[in-house]
């Protein structure tokens, strides 16, 4: 591998030898890391001893899972690897959910774990876990650093791997004796960015042939577009070609909801116009998406009339679940630039899809005086505008955010898509706000997920991070309740959260401004108050426990079999 050599920044006061822990801090700084999220403990103490000597900002979370989620969001927002740090044993295992989240959504992250000293490894020592082995299925790469002199190169490689190609998490396990050992600082060798092979000319030609011959083409936009920072290019292609588009959960924001070509999200809670277009299409142009089961429904009946042009940076995704007639592997921007989207006559198709969209617009005139969450979320995102960033938990509110919020770009929609991890919203909002302090960052939480990382209110308070929390409280595990209603004969098992704490009092106890609303006429004032707040604030919003998310494709069914309200 080619490498550039860059000396680690040094000062005149820096001794000739450095401990491994000091080298960790030096190297992170040399790699451009400005902010890390973590929680100290025994096996990582030398690194924490060295941290104050450096220039890196450390955010002390109150649970390691939150450190991983915050680093994940930092990575999504910036495109650079977010960094989380934990000690060995329980600290490391508490990172696992966040690492898995980053893996499934292809997010750049570097997770650093302390480990017991090497002589103790493999002896069941106190707080020893094989985090290296435990995380193998959920990392892009991992390494145990055995010698302090390897730290600069191993860290540089970890960041290059995390951020390159299809991004993902990299775990670095650091035995305590390596952190404590002295060594001569070596020059930092940054691996050159991997050179991705140019997309295959035959695949490009086949893609162009399919596009030119299609009468009902459809773009299927995925999260890979955000990771490749290719939104502008995709928008431009769609505007020039006029080809309609649907998006996955992770692809939302590439096109605005009101863009004439945008038919909405496809899949289990997708828009009818999107799912119908997929079923009627004769050509799917899949960009940075992976035919996730929540998007496809019953795979055998998904897009039954369509040929597939699949464009992705990861060769392993091509043909994994659906045969690609043209499999274009490579950097998304390079691939898209190489393809001539010379489309034939598709005006009738565009008109049909537009009519379906118009006939199935969401309605916001729900009966009653209670707060209709979809309407509130739509109004909130539109009021905030292009600065709106939302980090969600998982459940009904997550789907309402996806269905009804307006995102100026996919990086503004932070959601746990592949893993579906409750508790993501609040720590992710913290990571996003620190990454993009000029944006208005909202944590949109359900009452279930919020309580999975509620302790991070203390992090908000300590650092006065002006995250705005919208807590949609239906006193239920709403999506599970909905499925029990629809698919388990109304047998409501363990979904009742009616004994929730008083969230306003809880927030106040953490030192966070908070207020509660429950009537529709209070929504506008609540949005005003949220937007005007200079510090962290929580709006507790009581909503109907029996409200459901619609439409819904029942599990195992084709996307053509959508249930409506």
């Amino acid at each position: 591998m080619n490498a550039m050599t860059q000396p680690i920044p040094s000062t005149q006061t820096q001794p000739a030898t450095r401990t491994g822990a000091q080298l960790v801090v030096d190297t992170l700084a040399a790699l451009g890391v400005e902010c890390v999220f973590g929680y100290p403990g025994g096996a990582i103490m030398p690194v924490y001893d060295a941290l104050p000597q450096g220039q890196i900002r450390h955010i002390l979370v109150r649970h390691e899972q939150a450190a991983a989620f915050a680093a994940d969001a930092y990575g999504r927002a910036t495109g650079r690897a977010g960094v989380c740090i934990a000690t060995s044993g329980p600290g490391a295992t508490n990172l696992i959910t966040g690492i898995a989240n980053a893996y499934l959504d292809s997010v750049p992250m570097v997770a650093i774990t302390g480990q017991v000293a090497q002589p103790l490894m493999g002896t069941d020592a106190f707080q020893e876990t094989d985090i290296f082995g435990m995380t193998m299925p959920i990392v892009k790469h991992s390494v145990v650093i055995r010698r302090p002199e390897d730290i600069p190169s191993a860290f540089a490689e970890a960041f290059a791997i995390a951020e390159g190609g299809r991004p993902g998490p990299v775990l670095i396990d650091l035995p305590k004796d390596v952190q404590q050992a002295l060594c001569e600082p070596a020059a930092l060798r940054r691996p050159a960015a991997p050179v991705l092979a140019a997309p295959c000319a035959d695949a490009i030609a086949e893609a162009e042939r399919l596009i030119a011959g299609a009468s009902r083409p459809l773009f299927y936009l995925g999260g890979g577009i955000a990771r490749a920072n290719a939104s502008e290019m995709v928008r431009s292609i769609i505007e020039e070609s006029g080809i309609p588009a649907v998006a996955t959960l992770q692809g939302l924001g590439v096109l605005q909801p009101d863009h004439p070509a945008m038919l909405g999200m496809l899949g289990m809670h997708g828009h009818r116009a999107a799912n119908m277009a997929v079923q009627e299409s004769d050509l799917l142009i899949v960009v940075g998406a992976r035919f996730d089961d929540r998007a496809t429904g019953k795979l055998a009946e998904f897009a039954p009339h369509a040929s597939v042009v699949h464009i992705d940076v990861d060769a392993a995704e091509l043909g994994k679940l659906r045969f690609a007639h043209a499999a274009v592997c490579g950097n998304l921007k390079a691939s898209l630039a190489a393809i001539d989207f010379n489309i034939g006559e598709i005006s009738a198709w565009c008109e049909t899809t537009a009519q379906t969209r118009a006939a199935n617009r969401p309605r916001y005139d729900a009966p009653g005086n209670g707060i209709y969450a979809p309407a509130m979320l739509k109004a909130l995102s539109e009021r905030v505008g292009d600065d709106f960033i939302a980090a969600c938990d998982v459940g009904q509110h997550q789907m309402w955010v996806a269905q009804h919020c307006r995102f100026s770009r996919p990086q503004a929609h932070l959601t746990s898509g592949g893993l579906g991890a409750m508790g993501y919203g609040l720590p992710a909002a913290i990571g996003a706000k620190l990454a993009q302090p000029d944006k208005q960052v909202f944590a949109i939480c359900g009452d279930g997920g919020f309580q999975m990382n509620i302790q991070e209110l203390a992090t908000l308070r300590r650092y006065q991070i002006p995250v705005k929390i919208v807590l949609l409280d239906n006193a239920m595990l709403g999506l599970v309740r909905q499925w029990q209603e629809l698919f388990f004969a109304g047998n409501y098992s363990e979904v009742d959260l009616s004994d929730n704490p008083d969230f306003v009092e809880v927030a106040n106890a953490f030192g966070i401004e908070a207020f509660s609303i429950e009537r529709r006429e209070e929504v506008d004032g609540a949005i005003d108050r949220l937007m005007a707040a200079h510090g962290p604030i929580l709006a507790h919003v009581r909503i109907d426990p029996e409200e459901n998310v619609w439409p819904l494709v029942p599990p195992g069914k084709s996307n053509a079999e959508m249930m409506e309200k």
Binding site: M136, K140, V144
Partner: protein
């Protein structure tokens, strides 16, 4: 189960010797739906070659897809699908000396 699912797939993987490489590769093979039936490996300490005989756990698992997933691993240098399934011992004889 179809006849294909009952048959064995034979693959050859060359990889850089690094801590955890073997575990990582075998983990991907199993996680992606192939049961290990036999394995032979040779190594010179820096590089290794192994040949695996694998049984897909259902008829829908394709060795080509799994091999692309193995190829994503940082330590993996090459993968080959030995479509005719030569005897394992014969393949490992070409392992790095």
């Amino acid at each position: 189960m179809t006849p294909k699912a009952q048959g064995l797939e034979h693959i050859r993987i060359e990889f850089r010797c690094a801590e955890g490489a073997l575990r990582r590769i075998l983990g991907v093979v199993e996680t992606r739906g192939f049961a290990l039936r036999s394995m032979q490996m040779g190594s010179n300490g820096d590089h290794a070659v192994m040949t695996l005989a694998l049984a897909p756990i259902d008829p829908f698992r394709r060795a080509e897809t799994m091999l692309r997933q193995v190829a994503r691993l940082q330590e993996v240098e090459s993968t080959i699908h030995l479509t005719n399934g030569p005897p394992v011992a014969e393949v490992t004889n070409v392992a790095i000396a």
